[in-house]
Structures are given as C-alpha cells and as structure tokens.
C-alpha cells in the first residue's frame, strides 16, 4: 500500500490503525459579540483514531464548525475564547505548544477543507501556487519544485490535464474540481488527520458522491483519521464509523454509525431522522421538528433541546443532561428520559 502514496510527503512515521490520534476533552468556545456572549460550543469531547471516520452531525449553528476550528487553532481570538481540559494530538496537548509549533501541526499533521471551495481558495493565485505553497512554506522547496509537486498532487486527486491546468485560477474550475484542489492542498504534506467541514454542501448532487468516494479512498490509502462535519445525515451514512450529534453547542448523542442509523436514542436524533425524506420507502409522512434552533446568545436552560422536545419534562428545563450510557444502547446519549423513551 505504501508505494501507492509516493506522491504524498513521507515524513512522519505513519500511525498504526487504531492508534488514538486526537483527544478533545471538555471543549468550550464562546464569542464576545455586540449582541452578547455567544456560546458556540459547550463541554464537547471527542476522540479520533487512525483510519477511522468520525461524523459530526448538526444543524446550522450547532457548533460543529467551531469545534473543528478550535481543533485547528484558528478560532479568531478575540472575539473568540477557547477553553478545554485538553486538546491533545498523539498524546501532546496542543494548547501547550508555542505558536510556531502549533503552526507546524496545522496543515502538516492536521489539515482541513472547507464548505465552499470557491470562496475558500484565494481568487488571485493559481491553484498550482496555492497547492505548492504548502511545500514552499513548510518544506522550503523552490517555486519550480513546488509546482511539480502540485501537478503530481492534482493528478493524485484525479484532476484531468493537471499539467495544463496548474496555472489556472480557481474561478476557471468547476465546483467539484475546486474541491479536489482543496483536497490536494490539504493532503499535500500527508497529514494524519483531515477535517472536512461540509465538503460537499456547495456541490451538485452528482459531484457530491464523487468527492465522498475520493475522500474515503484517500483515507484508506494512507490510514488517515477523518472528521466529517455535515448537516446532511445522508451524506455520511455509508462512510462514517462513528457519529457525534451536536445541538446548540452540545453533543447530544455519540456512538457507532450503524447503531445510530438503526435506532437513534435522543429525541432530537429521532426528530432529525423523521424529517429526512428517504428515497426508498413508501408513503412515509415527513415530520419536521417543531420550533426553530435556539439562538446561541440565549441558549435554553437545562437540556437545550427541551423547548422543541415532545418528551420534555420539568427536569429537562432545570438540569443539563450529560452524555451517559444507558441500558440496552451501545452508544452514549445526553437525555434525562432516554430510558423511558426507548421503551
């Protein structure tokens, strides 16, 4: 398998399958804004192992993107403030690193791709420059060498006619090709973790599948840990190993993907499942979740989902529900009434 990835920079000893790469404990992110303090992420924890795909699912404003940015260390501070018991990468607490060491982790060890490849690529530089920049900045390659590496990477992510197109600008590519450029850039230095923030949301449906396939493929080839962030339950169903469901900055449910899709435990997860149309399945009525997602300035007390929850009782309003294991459910769920509801 190793000879397949010669395009990628072979530098770090690759982690063994199953080695824990990332451990985030009790992460909270708040933003100080004119409108008040925005609690974007509250008390979220996650782990990621090599070769594993973790899906973080949630609606707009559930805190999933901010979680990713906190792991990357690119939350704008101020107005943001990141606190965590630890954010550790292969046993090393990232928060204790100097800014220059942290920068070395970014892009080389953990890299990230974003939702809209058109706005995420710099419009005034050629794609070759932007991919090559990784080699020039982190590896000190010359402009010419960097360009050659960029072409190889573009071929690697299956962009046709890479050599001819290396000098083209982002706006000259289609949406799918642009996302491939982003992926090439993110994979340039062969990171051990790739965070993909809504990688297919801005793309056509037909292209979405190709990109997901490419990501899954690349992940297998070099044993990366992959964090997939999405609001779309469908996109991640087939590729993810584990899922974490977020709502109003909190993790509501975590567990194996198969278990989650087979029988979700949290009322919010139920609601989500029922509001998604299934392609196969006859005459099912879609049931939207009532109410609107909460404002992060005024997160509801207790369990943030209680105003929209059909099962809510007084306790849900008064007391935050923490993730816990319950009888007969393989994952963890943050719901006071999880047992009763499952029955």
């Amino acid at each position: 398998m190793a000879d397949k990835v010669t395009v990628l920079d072979i530098r770090t000893e690759r982690p063994e399958v199953g080695e824990t790469l990332l451990e985030v404990e009790n992460l909270s992110v708040v933003f100080d804004t004119d409108a008040g303090v925005v609690k974007a992420v509250s008390d979220a924890s996650l782990t990621l192992a090599a070769g594993e795909t973790l899906a973080i699912i949630g609606e707009s404003g559930s805190g999933k993107s901010v979680t990713a940015q906190a792991i990357m260390g690119i939350v704008p501070t101020p107005p943001g403030k990141v606190t965590a018991t630890s954010i550790s990468y292969r046993g090393q607490n990232l928060e204790h690193l100097s800014e220059s060491d942290r920068r070395r982790v970014r892009g080389q060890e953990i890299s990230m791709i974003f939702q809209d490849p058109l706005t995420s690529l710099n419009p005034v530089y050629s794609v070759g420059f932007q991919i090559g920049e990784m080699f020039r900045v982190h590896r000190g390659l010359s402009r010419k060498e960097a360009k050659e590496r960029a072409i190889e990477l573009m071929e690697f992510v299956r962009i046709p006619e890479a050599r001819r197109r290396v000098g083209d600008f982002p706006h000259q590519f289609s949406g799918g090709m642009r996302q491939r450029v982003m992926i090439a850039m993110a994979l340039a230095l062969n990171p051990t973790i790739l965070i993909a923030d809504e990688p297919t949301t801005a793309l056509d449906v037909t292209v979405q599948a190709q990109i997901m396939e490419l990501l899954a493929d690349l992940q297998k080839q070099n044993n990366m840990g992959l964090i997939l962030i999405t609001h779309d339950l469908g996109v991640v169903a087939s590729v993810s190993d584990r899922i974490q469901l977020m709502y109003a900055g909190r993790i509501m449910e975590k567990g194996k993907a198969d278990d989650f899709y087979a029988s979700p435990a949290h009322p919010y997860a139920h609601g989500l499942m029922n509001s998604v149309p299934r392609l196969i399945g006859v005459d099912e009525r879609l049931v939207p979740i009532t109410g609107a997602p909460p404002s992060l300035v005024n997160v509801p007390s207790g369990c943030p989902f209680h105003p929209r929850c059909p099962h809510a009782v007084d306790r849900c309003r008064d007391e935050v529900a923490h993730l816990r294991r319950i009888e007969g459910f393989p994952g963890e769920v943050a719901c006071h009434r999880a047992e009763e509801i499952r029955d």
């Binding site: 804004t33 925005v38 707009s60 404003g61 901010v66 107005p79 809504e198």
Partner: protein, 340 residues
Amino acid sequence: MSDVDFRDGHAESGDRDYSTEHDIGTEEAYATVEAAVEGEVEGLERAASLWGDAWIQLRRRVVFWIAVGLITLFTVMAIVPQVFVSPSPATHDPTDCRLRDDAGEFQDRLRPSREHWFGTDVQGCDYYARVIYGARVSIIIGLGVTILAGILGVLLGGISGFYGGAVDQTISRFVDILFAMPFLVIAILFLNAIATPGSRNLGHVLLVLGVFGWPTLSRIFRASVIQARGQDYVEAARALGASNGRILVRHVVPNAIAPTIVYATIAIGGVIAAEATLSFLGVGLQLPAISWGLMINTAQTRILTDPHLLFFPGVALSLTVLGFLLLGDVVRDALDPRLR
C-alpha cells in the same frame, strides 16, 4: 456584529423557488401569486425595516448626535443669523464696516477682543458677524446643489440602470465624459462663460455645481438599481404583471436609494467646500456677498500677518463640512454594519 459566521449549512433557502418558472399548475400559480403579493409588501417593508434598524443603531451613537448638533447649529445660523449677533447690534452688523472709529483710530484687522469676538477684517467689519452671516451661502449651496445634482443623478442613473441597453450606454458614456474632466476647472470655465464676474451670483454657482455634480450620484444609484432589479421580489412583482413604472417606484427605488442618500449627505460637505474654493479663487461669489471662501480670498495677502482672518472662517467652514461628513459616515455604518 458579524465577525463570526455560524452558518454551517445552506439550510434555509426554501422561499426562493417560486417566482421565475412559467409552465406551472394551479397550485404553483397560487404560490406565485402569493409570493408576488408578499413581494409587493416586502419591497416597501424591506426598505422601511432597513431604515428602522438604522435608526435604532443611530440613536445610540454619540457621533450621530455630534453631526446633528453641528448641522442644526449652522442651519439655524443660516436661517436666523440675527439670533447669534443680537447682543449688541450696533457693532455686530456684518455690513456696518468702518475703517476708523469716531476717535479716528483705525478699526481694520483688529485682533479678537471683547467687543469684536473674532476681531475685524481688512474693511473694519466685525468678523464674528460676518462669519455668522456666512453660513447662509454655505447651507443654501450645500443643500441646493445636492438636491439638484441628486434629482439629476437619480433620474439619469435610475433610467440607465433600470432600462439598460442603448439608453444606459448613452448615459454612461456621458457620465464618462463628465468624469474625465477636472471638476473644478470645468466649474470655473462655465461660471466664467455664463456670467461676467460682476454679475455672478448664488444662482450661477448653484446651477453650475449642480449640473456638473451629478455623475458620481448617478453611478452609485445606477449600480444599486441594477442590483435591486434582479431581486426575487422584483421578479415576483413582474410575474404578477406590475408595470415598469410601478416596479421602479414601489420596489426598486425604495431599496436602492440608501447608498445614494449616504453619498449625497457626504457630498453636501464636498459641495460646501467646492463653493468656498471657487470663491477663494475669485471665480465664485463676488463682494458684497458674504461667503467664508470669499472672506479668506479677501484676506489672502494678510493671512500670514493676521492669522485670525483665516482661522475663524476656516474653522466654521470645516465644522460645517464635518457635520455632513459625520452624518453620512454614521448613517452608512448604520445601514451596512459590515463596514464597521
């Protein structure tokens, strides 16, 4: 405050799918009608809420009240200058100038004193009174020119942006022509062409500055009209069969006018400075008119020895310009929080 963008997904854009399709069944047709009726209301409501939100923002800002204070001060000064000079009318009439007093002492270019707060000018006129009476010209020119240029700019820019095509090409080329010529030089040229120096008055200055002052306003309004024209609620109104005129008046103008109003407010200050500059160069208003620019022109050769002749009209002029500038700035910020 939009530093932080929490939109993770493209979740909610459900309400924009109606308007443009044509081969549709009854149900969809109802949807189209509803959307259009909503659009009708929306066009005006959007504009109203834009200004409503802006007002809430404005009320809280000190700068806004400073601007309002300055503008009010100079406007009152322009309308009833007597109020400001009333304490001792005998010595504070701007046209009652005397080179010598009864005792035969020279009264020109006196330094500021208790009797003459701002001193006297080369003719021995009370400088305080002249500065106060000078506000009138500036305010009339500032507002008059901006209204004239605003009407021309909105009219031509609106037609240009809304109809496009050959009309747009013609108007845009004409704007290019006016834009390529140095504004001050053209104003001087035409002021000299339409009136001999002796007969030049406020009307001439107002006309020339207004007639040549509209291109920027027209460009700004044209751009906003083109943007507003493509909005969903305009499309919806069009699908309902609203006439061009109705669409323009009810939907496009209310939503496109904001940037033009902001620019026009700032431009008032610019116009006031332009009149003062022309008068200073001796090609604007002529004596016995009272204008701050003209006062500085008259004092020109004495400024190095008697700086108060520059200082007082200069400060009055700058504060007036500042008032409109601050107002425009703060209104723009309130309308577009992204710029803050």
